[in-house]
């Protein structure tokens, strides 16, 4: 199988800073791939390595089977939607979108037509004569998307494209991006620090920390079976149990993760806990529990009996729900 993008032991160091450190990963053609991590984790540097703005200090990058390290950004069939959109302020919207075609030498009439079609695709028809300065953040983002897609890239890179949008707009855009990606069949590589966004949109997620790839998998795998404390902490509201408690429940001295919805109150409880807080979420209630100084969240579906605050309860969980991680 030829991968859309393949990293082989790729490192990018800036002096003593290891922005990307020995990363191996393969992105499949046509998949929606998310790179997730806190700021400074190396995810954006990975994106810039694919775009060609950075060169690896060590290792190899292949784009559709071709060695990419020596290929300058302007010869890669890869386009980017920048975090600040980077629309050209001296050009109007249609000339911004047609920029790539203009550089390729497409005649004016043809490139205007294609740019118009691209603007229609991102639901911005009729905005061609405006200047970027006259558009809202969400509109600029759509123009930036059209400007990248009009070149029919094989890989589209998106650098935190939704970060600057407000919540409602962001949710709309998430859905639209997903639909667009499905209908075009282009490989999308999406950088974000928002785990909800990564989990809801991506086919597969790569979690980064300190320049290293921590875990690569489907959203279900990442969320349900985090392989390390960092991933469990960062990706979700999963409870992380310290080795002392895990040893008592499962007999192994390891860290473990336990999703809040897997925690059962009452039943054949394995641990004893005090209810510290109660938050009504609509479909469920989130209980904050104190287990020997360790905070554990539990999600109780609506309709089940709820203990009062301060009450001592027994809590339990099925063996398969306790996900063992690194030894402690």
């Amino acid at each position: 199988m030829t991968f859309a993008v393949s990293f082989q032991k790729v490192s990018r160091h800036f002096g003593a800073v290891r922005a990307v450190d020995g990363v191996d990963l393969d992105i499949r053609p046509g998949e929606f791939f998310a790179m997730l991590g806190p700021s400074g984790s190396g995810k954006t540097t990975c994106l810039r390595l694919i775009a060609g703005f950075e060169r690896p200090t060590a290792g190899h990058i292949e784009i559709f089977g071709a060695r990419a390290e020596a290929i300058p950004p302007y010869r890669r069939n890869v386009n980017t939607v920048f975090q600040d959109y980077a629309l050209f302020p001296h050009l109007n919207v249609v000339d911004n979108v047609a920029y790539g075609l203009m550089i390729k030498g497409v005649p004016k009439a043809a490139r205007r037509r294609e740019a118009g079609a691209a603007l229609e695709m991102v639901k911005m028809p009729g905005y061609g004569d405006r200047r970027p300065g006259q558009l809202s953040g969400g509109q600029r983002q759509r123009v930036a998307l059209a400007r990248a897609l009009v070149n029919r890239p094989r890989v589209l890179l998106l650098d935190e494209p939704l970060g600057a949008l407000d919540l409602k707009l962001r949710e709309n855009m998430q859905e639209e991006l997903k639909t667009l990606q499905k209908s075009l069949g282009i490989t999308f590589v999406f950088v974000t620090h928002d785990q909800g966004e990564a989990l809801s949109m991506a086919d597969r997620v790569a979690v980064f920390n300190d320049g290293r790839l921590m875990q690569l998998g489907t959203p279900q795998e990442i969320y349900g079976s985090p392989n390390s404390r960092f991933v469990a902490d960062f990706v979700g509201s999963s409870n992380v149990l310290p080795p002392v408690l895990v040893e008592r429940c499962a007999g192994q001295r390891r860290w473990a993760s336990l999703r809040p919805e897997a925690v059962k109150i009452g039943a054949p409880g394995r641990l004893s806990a005090t209810v510290v807080s109660r938050a009504y979420l609509g479909g469920a209630t989130r209980l904050g529990l104190d287990v020997e100084g360790q905070r554990i969240n539990a999600l109780v579906p609506a309709g089940e009996a709820l203990p009062a605050e301060g009450e001592t309860v027994r809590l339990g969980f099925a063996d398969e729900d306790l996900h063992l991680m690194e030894p402690g």
Binding site: A51, P73, A86, G133
Partner: protein, 268 residues
Amino acid sequence: MRSDTSPPGLRIAAAAGLAFLHLPILLIFVYAFTTEDKSYQWPPPGLTLDWLAVTWNRPDVWAALSLSLEVAAVSTAIALVLGTLCAASVSGSRFFGRETISLLVILPIALPGIITGIALRSAFSLAEIPFSQWTIILGHATFCVVVVYNNAIARFRRVSGSLLEASYDLGADGLQTFRHVILPNIGTALVAGGMLAFALSFDEVIVTTFTAGQQQTLPIWMLEELVRPRQRPVTNVVAMVVVLVTLLPILAAYYLTRDGDQVAGSGK
């Protein structure tokens, strides 16, 4: 808050200040038409247009004017190339000594012209370079570069790095990016900087006296004329023409930079 009426005292003071600034220039215009050619006598005993014709027929005026234009044009051209390149590298990357280079480029305009002049003169004689129009051009280029650099770097700072990356990303190489992204964004700043550089060079006296041999640029010629009066109003005619001719590009530069403020910052 803006009041329509200001105190009369303030108005008179403002009018007096403006008059003090601009009446002497009008005086130059008046003396260009006087019939008295030995001294500046007020009021002029009579008015005549003869000096226009006299000036037209004086070869030394034409020689000085063409030398000044040539020097200004060539040193501005040198300044545009060097100033733009320098601004691009200083704004586009971070490297050791970047601030120092920036300071060194700006220094010639902060130094008194006489220092620049003496330094260049001794350097030229040390290198045994004969004085010519080229030594004048080099002297002028030292401060013209500064003007272009200052104008260009302010605009370069506003062309964010991601604009250049976006251009590369969309398939443009360095040259195409310069033509389609950088130049449209810094163009007006370059025109304004170039015009200022031209105007600075055109009326420069101090550096010129140190770097010229027998050549006379227009300002030097004027000084000589004042010392050795011969058909005095000719100087005034030349001065008047220079004022009228330079006013237009200065106004143009003003309007260009004013509009340019909105060019590069609006995308963010």
